[in-house]
């Protein structure tokens, strides 16, 4: 059931992202990009099995830990998403005024 909910949420995020991407307004397209990025991050989390206790070496049973590799991948993806959004925003901003 949980898998179904996450899958539907990721799908709707992606659908919303694509919908925004087909707008004409540059800034709304940027929002679309951002949404698609969120959808992909959720997918990575779900598919990578990130569920469980935080991955810290503090005596927790390691088999109950959330898988750390997808976490680190998503972490960098989130930061790169910021770089992308900023770059797109600055480009759109400049385009409007040049």
């Amino acid at each position: 059931m949980n898998a179904l909910i996450v899958a539907v949420a990721a799908g709707l995020l992606m659908a919303g992202g694509v919908y925004l991407l087909t707008e004409r307004h540059p800034f709304r397209r940027i929002l679309g990009f951002s949404c698609m990025g969120h959808a992909v991050n959720v997918t990575l989390f779900e598919a990578g099995g990130v569920q469980g206790n935080p991955a810290f070496i503090d005596g927790t049973d390691i088999t109950t830990m959330a898988s750390p590799i997808p976490q680190s991948l998503v972490l960098t993806a989130v930061v790169i998403g910021l770089a992308l959004v900023t770059l797109l925003a600055v480009t759109a901003f400049r385009q409007e005024h040049h």
Binding site: L31, I57, A66
Partner: protein, 944 residues
Amino acid sequence: MIALILFLCAGLLFTITRTRALDLRLRGGIASAGSLALLLYFSYTWMGSENHIWTWQMDWLPQVGIQLALRADGLSALFALIVLGIGTVIFAYTGVYLKGARRSGHMLSLLLLFELAMLGVVLSDDVITLFICWELTSVISFLLISADYEKPSARFAGRHALLITGIGGLCLMGGLLIAAATFDTWKISEMQQAAALAGGLPTKAWVLILLGALTKSAIFPFHSWLPLAMAAPTPVSAYLHSATMVKAGVFLLLRLFPVLVLHAWWAPTLLTLGTITLLYAGYRALRVSDLKQVLAWTTIAALGTIVVALGTGTTAGVIAALVFIIVHALYKSSLFMLAGAIDKLTGTRELDSLAGLRRYMPFGALAGLLAGLSMAGIPPFVGFVGKELIYQAQLEAPGVSILIPVLAILGNALALVAAVLVGIEPFRNRKIEKERRHTTSTKVALLSIFALIPALFSLLFGLLSNILIAPILSDTMRHSFALSEDVQLGLWHGFNTALILSIITVAGGAALAAWRIRKADSWLSPSWTPKDGAAWLFETLPTFATFVIRPFKRASIVGWIGSTVIMVYVILVGTNIHAGLQMPALSLQDFDSFQTLVLFLVLIGMAITIAARHPLTAIGGMGFIGSALAVWFLHRGAPDVGATQLLVEALSLLVLAWAWLRVTNTYKPNVLPPSLRRQHYTSRIFISLAMGGGLTAILLLGGPWTPPTELGLDMIQRTQPEAFGLNVVNVILVDFRLFDTLGESAAIALAGLAALMLLSPGVVKNKKPALPATPVAQTAIVIGYMLLVLSLPVFYRGHNEPGGGFLGGLVASLGLIMIGIISIQDNSVRLSSLARKLIVIGVLCTSLSVIPSLLADKPLWTAIWFTVPVPLLGDIPLGTPVLFDLGVYLAVMGFGAATYAALRRAESDGTFDFRMKKTGLPAATRFLQNTSEPTATQSSEGGS
């Protein structure tokens, strides 16, 4: 070897030095002296090595046996000496010639790099080294041809050259790889032996290698790029496009001659193509009036001559080709340099407006005479020696038709005419229509003297050919071709057939020259000029490309993005269906109400964003999505990701709101005529739902997804004992999977720099009056500083607890932006320079943290730890990952500062008009009018 490295460093120093920092003539002189020193050093080392074979190698990819291997036998040494020798003169010439020209320092450093790459081509003994250097010469040639990139013609010429030599390079790579796989070695010298034993190369490899060589050497039908390459500055033409780079192709043919010649197609192919090239290019040379064009076509003709000599497949042919390569390098570089001097003196290169120049440039006239006579093949110049040898080789070779030497006579006669046209005619006193007076200068005199140097060598080598050239040729034959033949060169070989042919050539050429000069107008009439076959390629390729992309690139945005989405969909869903689908067992037992609630909030945010009519609402909706997702990440057991998501959301909302609200504070949905509206929305919703549904299907049916994989467990177990950390995610970021993070921090640093570049119009014109600071603002500044301070512990504790470089950097960015926004004075200039420094230092930290592992001779970026005793705090562990993470921290902080500074600076600058636009077309529509025409038409229809 050390000399080579020093030379490279010098070259890079030139690249870094600003153009005006050091006089270009001085820099040219230094480069020239460097070349000469390298030439002497190389000759000394090479002469001193055993059997005159100098080798040097270093492991590059030992796992697959690839080495950085250099080997200089006679053949390589001969070419290396040509490259270095001509380079010595060219660099000095370039310094004088290009002084004051735009991007001159840039060109000089490219020339230096070219010299190194070309040395790599002729000296490398490893297939991969050879290929890389080969491609480098192509790329540098491209950069130099299109150096004047504001001109469309220069860009076209560069592209043309790169396309042809690039395709040739790929063929060469294919051929060499097949050969390497067949004979199981990367070494060219070993490959030669193995191939000789096996009776030659496989036909595939043979054809591909030949294609590589012929495209590089501009042999028909691949010749069209060379005349276009004359768009490059004259020193470049003199060095790359006559003396050295175009010889790389024939060098390769010579290098692999013992192997290639075994194939049955060798003689027919090379003799045919060589002869066609020789005659066609020789003829075209007489049909153009631009000095450099004449020289370019004669270069192609000369390359044809060399290929014909090689095509005979005999020892005599090889010797003739080698001598002719020396001959051509000398006279052609001299003539090109002379063309440059003439250009500088008169401002034109049109042959029919050049006459009587000997009054202005006596040294130039002498250089032209000497080089021209060598080109024409008149004794006692080395050109005569070369021509005699070629006739001899053609006559003596078994199985070569008598037609070949007969056609060669015609080709050489054409070359003689060209020699008269460029070497003698401009200097002769004769009547021309537009006679002009010129003022001579030291610059022209200097340039002429440089042009004279190779011309004098033509004479010297002609007179003393047996002493100066013969020994190295004998050596080459012995060690490169395993033939113990003593090469004897000389001007007088007795009264033989070759001499008769020479006499016929000179007589015929003289008659032809008289005709060409008398009837210049009819020779130059454009109606005669045939169209180049390669132009066809450049007309066809874009048409073909348009044909291919037409179904995908549509005029409407929906169609365009839709086709992309459908492609992704087909690929992703298709591969998943192919892999097999499985419906998971759905039960209500694992229903997680908290998770469901959070995801529901995400979707509410989504709905707000889509339905929003005002930018702030849309951005607010995005904030909703981002924050809810952060909570979801936390809930799933990823505190670091959750925290990062939260901070990133805050930053990106700030940036978006700032940029967007400055552009417009309204949002209009797509303006469409009513007839189209329905279709438009239907198709958009369909595409979106298709994509979203695909993702849902993959996630749901593509599983089961197995929680922590073995790799993950392995990393968890190694975290404490190997990386001395407790936070597994952070350890993965800064240690186990460091390369990913390195790339990512570089990407974010670049995004920051790009923001600065894009929004920095330069001088601040229109400073707005500062607002007085309110108590709230002052509090905010304090909070900003607190955030800055707080970011340090966030960064430092990352190794063991949630935190780390990314998080710390984001906190610091927020702090900086907060201070920046509130501060009274416009501090964007200060912040932008701070941002640059932070980014540079951050990237340096991440990159330099490799050094300890290099020093310890371990795999790159192996973590090295040590403890530092600090009073009061006890032992503090420090390691390269900490340095690396510090780099990430600084880079991210720099990114935040850069983004802020860019936007603020654009705001305070008068270039941008930031008044809210409430009337007229929304700015977004204007944006679209620039990008796609049909939609713009639609919107204006809808508006009216």
